[in-house]
Symmetry: C2
Subunit: 103 residues, 2 copies
DNA sequence: CACAAGCGTTAGTATTGACTTACAGTTAGC
DNA sequence: GCTAACTGTAAGTCAATACTAACGCTTGTG
């Protein structure tokens, strides 16, 4: 049930942009906020949501806080996606067989 | 840029539950709403959002409207996920080499 | 032709949440 | 110790949205 938070976190465009910024590598909060159209506290809040969703991880580095990508969040989404796809495909084939037995 | 709508659509719990209900196979609006804690118009609106996101498709069947899963929406998310993962992995390895050249 | 079933749409409401400003806490340098 | 740099947090505001109730439209049935 972890994909719930992940989907909710990635739904917001600004927050996903923050997340995608970390795709280039680990960054501090200030570095990220400098490239964003919103204020630094807003970025900090977004990072908090992403962290709770298991999408990012943070480590203290002196006075600044460096964030990087946490694979767990994306893995949760991928798992959900694969499982969903398998079930849907199975249901689809079951539907076909039902119509075959009809003929 | 199609994953934007898909993520936004799957973020809402009720809407995702509607979507997951179609995993079992094609259903009419009434059938879905019967298993939901919200009213039928709410389900209809959710289905509209899912349709615009390319996650479901509908066909008229007499007086009732049957919805089924549209692979396009999920494919968009999968594409984004794969691409994101590749870039993040490349950045991670680049980070490692940078530290190697440091030694 | 009238009636009922099944949906989509609209208007209106209440709640969620993204954002800014101001403040408090922690760490490096003089 | 004192200042500056960097960040998380709290309170408040405003826009987005999920929901219900009421209505109108289309299709099958007597």
């Amino acid at each position: 049930m972890a994909y719930q938070a992940a989907f909710l976190a990635l739904a917001d465009p600004t927050r996903r942009r923050v997340f995608e910024e970390l795709r280039r590598g680990p960054r501090s909060v200030g570095k990220i906020a400098a490239r964003m159209p919103v204020s630094r506290p807003a970025v900090s809040q977004h990072l908090g949501v992403l962290k709770k969703a298991g999408l990012v991880a943070d480590r203290a580095e002196g006075t600044r806080r460096v964030y990087c990508i946490d694979p767990n969040g994306l893995a949760a989404i991928r798992t959900w996606l694969d499982q969903f796809w398998d079930e849907a495909l199975a249901a689809f084939q079951a539907e076909l067989e039902k119509k075959d037995s009809h003929a």
